[in-house]
């Protein structure tokens, strides 16, 4: 692992009186699959919204590839190499899977060319080539999640922020999603993953950041995290074996 592709210092977000994220530091090493976990309402999605520009920071700084993001518009963050798969899959319902992915391939880089090849490659990585001509509103939840990943990958990012890609999936779909995220990483993309499914998180992540009530609680390897007394107390409630399947 080399230096951080994305880093945050003192990242804070307040909504009027409520502090959603408070003084969080993070460094996402290039090439990693990084995990972000925490109980419901801990601020995971808020943190992703701050990074991708859907919400402005109250204070602190986020740097992407060494450059401060500041007030950079959302589409520029994507064109700079940051992609996001949303927690609630948001397909373009009236379009086919291929067209959905093509949008990412077309606009993800200002110099977009060979849209069809890029889209085909993204569909292959996500494992949805067979669905290419299906309309997006005819997909299952599991297929929609993979479409979400394919569309993000088609923008040719260096960092993929995946917000609960396994939520609502059955075990075999979850296993497929884990495979899909691994193949994304194999193409050289750093992955930052929010996930509730502890089995998925611990099996796939190199490092995990735990937040609780907007604050950083712990950071370390999966083995360190599941053994951390503070994490067990706040999040797992019990050692991993007992908590498995109950999280979320």
């Amino acid at each position: 692992m080399s230096e951080a592709i994305l880093s945050g210092r003192g990242v804070t977000k307040r909504f009027q009186g409520v502090t959603a994220i408070e003084d969080v530091d993070f460094d996402i090493p290039e090439g990693a699959i990084f995990g972000l976990i925490g109980p419901n309402g801990a601020g995971k999605s808020t943190l992703f919204n701050l990074i991708t520009g859907y919400l402005p920071l109250t204070s602190g700084e986020i740097r992407f590839r060494g450059e401060p993001l500041g007030a950079m518009p959302i589409f520029r963050r994507n064109q700079a190499g940051m992609a996001r798969a949303f927690q609630i899959a948001k397909p373009f319902r009236a379009l086919s899977v291929r067209q959905n992915v093509a949008v990412g391939a077309m606009f993800g880089r200002p110099d977009a060319h060979d849209v069809e090849a890029t889209a085909a490659e993204a569909m292959r990585i996500a494992g949805i080539e067979a669905l290419a001509d299906r309309r997006a509103d005819a997909l299952t939840v599991g297929e929609l999640r993979k479409l979400e990943i394919a569309r993000a990958v088609a923008t040719r990012p260096v960092l993929l922020l995946a917000d609960e890609p396994c939520a609502g999936l059955n075990p075999s779909e979850t296993a497929e999603m884990v495979r899909c995220l691994r193949s994304v990483r194999e193409t050289g993309v750093t992955v930052w993953l929010v996930e509730h499914d502890m089995k998925a998180v611990t099996s796939i992540c190199d490092r995990i950041l735990v937040i609780d009530a907007g604050r950083k609680l712990a950071e370390g390897s999966p083995a360190e995290i599941v053994a951390d007394p503070a994490v067990i107390e706040a999040y797992l409630g019990a050692p991993l074996d007992a908590a498995e399947g109950g999280a979320g």
Binding site: T52, Y54, P73, I74, F75, N78, Q79, A83, R84, F86, K90, P91, F92, R93, A94, L95, R98, Q99, A102, V103, G104, M106, F107, G108, R109, A112, V115, E116, D137, A138, L139, T140, V141, E143, L144, R151, A152, A154, T155
Partner: protein, 324 residues
Amino acid sequence: MTRPARPLAVFAALVAAVAVALAPEALGPFHIRVLQFFFFSAALATAWNLLGGYAGYWSFGHMAFIGIGAFAAAHYAMAFGGGGAGPASMIAPVAVGALSAGGVALVIAYPLLRLRGIYFAIAMLGVSQIAAELTNNVGVLKGGIGVFLPSPTPAGMPPERFFYYLFAVLLGLCLLIAWAIRRTRFGYALLAIREDEDTAMMLGVATERWKIAAFVLSATLTGTAGAIYGYSLGYFTTYSVFRLDFSLNMIVFCLIGGIGTLWGPTIGAALLLFLTQVLLSRFLDVHLMITGALVVATVLLMPGGILRAVGELPRLRPKREGGT
């Protein structure tokens, strides 16, 4: 992602062009006027559809651009027209009308397009009322007493026939632009914005820029139609061009025919105008009521418009797998 133009479509377009060119030989002035108004209406609806149908930003106030186009053309012609006549005398005033409408759209685009859904629609309604009242009440704009445009009709040609051809060419131009957009990144950007604007941003779509482009293009085409309409009237006041029913008809034609499709606005305009101007003209007491009932019935029974309803006939049972 683009398909090559099908030879059949090109052939159909040629046949349509020849039919449009020859039709006035067989028709009387009344039917030529009906068709002239149809071309005008279909061109407006197609222009509206670029923003409302493609990008999902419904404007309730597109009459603003008809009026601005007409008034700008008239004031330019009155100030610099030099009294020339003939079709060539229209070029500069119509261009000024089109660019004025586009220019106004460009100025108001940034603040207005930050609004979404019904808020944008209502803001446009407000803009159109303000534009109408300005021409009506600001003395130099002469909307209250009326403005003139000299007749551009070539000697020996009936005016209805001249404007019939002019509006037919305008509709052809609007359709060509609408068709071309669909095949470019511009078209995909608008589709993505309509489907989910927040997601589109995260896929690198510069949503603001594309929305403004669609708005300005739509307004420019509407302004062009407005300027030519002004010429067809010859003399007009504020309320002959700033007509609320124009704003509404653009939306209704798109809804009836198929919003967001290439041919929907034209088909909607054809059906509704044929119905109201030709079939129901014998029942003047009730024709508006019947028209209203038909609009309601179409929207209820075929929410995607006639074009989509016909397109879905072969697959009435949609193949959907699983739940979403």
